[in-house]
Amino acid sequence: MASLISCPHCGTRAKEEFFIRGDATPVRPAPMAGDDMWNDYVHVRANPRGRIREYWQHVAGCRRWLVVERDNFTHEVFSVSDAAAGRGGER
């Protein structure tokens, strides 16, 4: 994971082509959702050791935001998918 990432659009590329944002698990709450939900979304992270989902953007390639599902201890990658896949925003 930390050397190469297989972009679903561009193929296997070096890690330095990507920008990493962080945890892809939190979902942006509805505008009127409670303060707790908003605080959790912006500030609180489960941060487990093991399987996680993380946002990576292929800035030096297709510029798509990707969800990298991987193990944050072994760095094994399980899948890399377009973040918009299945949500109406595919290209």
Binding site: A2, K15, I20, D35, N39, D40, V44, A46, I52
Partner: protein, 416 residues
Amino acid sequence: MRYSALSIFKQAFAGNLGWTPAWREPAPKSHYDVIIVGGGGHGLATAYYLAREFGIRNIAVVEKGYLGSGNVGRNTTIVRSNYMLPGNEPFYEFSLKLWEGLEQELNYNVMFSQRGIINLYHNDGQRDQYIRRGNAMMMEGVGAELLDRESLKKMLPFLNFEHARFPIMGGLLQKRAGTARHDAVAWGFARGADRLGVDLIQNCEVTGIRRENGAVTGVETTRGFIGCNKLALAAAGNTSRVGEMAGLKLPIESHVLQAFVTEGLKPCIDHVITYGAGHFYISQSDKGGLVFGAEIDGYSSYAQRGNLATAEHVMEEGVTMIPGLSRVRVLRAWGGVMDMSMDGSPIIDRTPIENLYLNCGWCYGGFKATPASGFCFAHLIAKGESHHVARALRLDRFERGFPIDEAGVGTQPNLH
């Protein structure tokens, strides 16, 4: 056993056979007033100050590995108090003052070396930021000096003044900052705590936190259940995992930071120097190795190892700042797991759970904080209220809207 030149002299003539263990290896008792989870720098300092300053002696420190096996033993050993924001600066200055008396206090030479830190700047905007920071330091009574290019050239002729993408314009100097022998800090606090009766229990991993009516009553460990009145977490690198045992979700993401050391060299760099057109920082250990690092690798990780691309980037910055590093060989790279918090600043606070106290979120700046972190955490545990220099380091500062964001980058942990 007290350490002194005399004790060394006496022992030398006894074949060095009379030295006694630096700490006991006690079996865990069934109950303690306070259990501290984490036998790193902060946990050991907390135990020491609880016993020394706040009169609580019935304490255990439980450590899953060996004492000092976390980030206290894998950092770049920098000690400084050159912060800008009022939530941070008094705390780190308090820490620096504790460092200044630490060796005599602990009767242990942690080789705290006040050789000075110089933060280089490369443009007007950065200079103005450093002036703001330097003035914030002086408001707190912390010395700071602004160095121009000419005086830097005299002090550090090996810097790249002519052939850098971003030429060096000057620097901010804190003379009292420096380095310390990192392992010795853990050992010094461990020995000091042990001498005050604290039980240091190694190879004892916490596997669960027991609660009754919501309140914490003790910990399940690989060496059995241990009861306590108060439980204090100082497990940076594993904070979220231990917190999760009590049902806590925290404003923390784990990231890996690499550090490096070169082969030993005769003295050639006499200060701590940081690069303003990147994140590179460097100093020379007393053994002669150049110790350095830069930014975190950038992804969530619990693996104590880094990636090559980041290492290469660190070297690029290093050679750009000091061209003469080019032929110096790098001996070893290592990685530590950082508690990256949402604003880049730490947390020393109570938790919503009764009897559970939290010390975490040190990002990559925990080493310098070790004495103050221990002192203030002990203060909180003993007195139930924050020490005045640590008042801003609250867990609820995020939801209440009082972040302490030195970098000004918001709630993205990997940018701090």
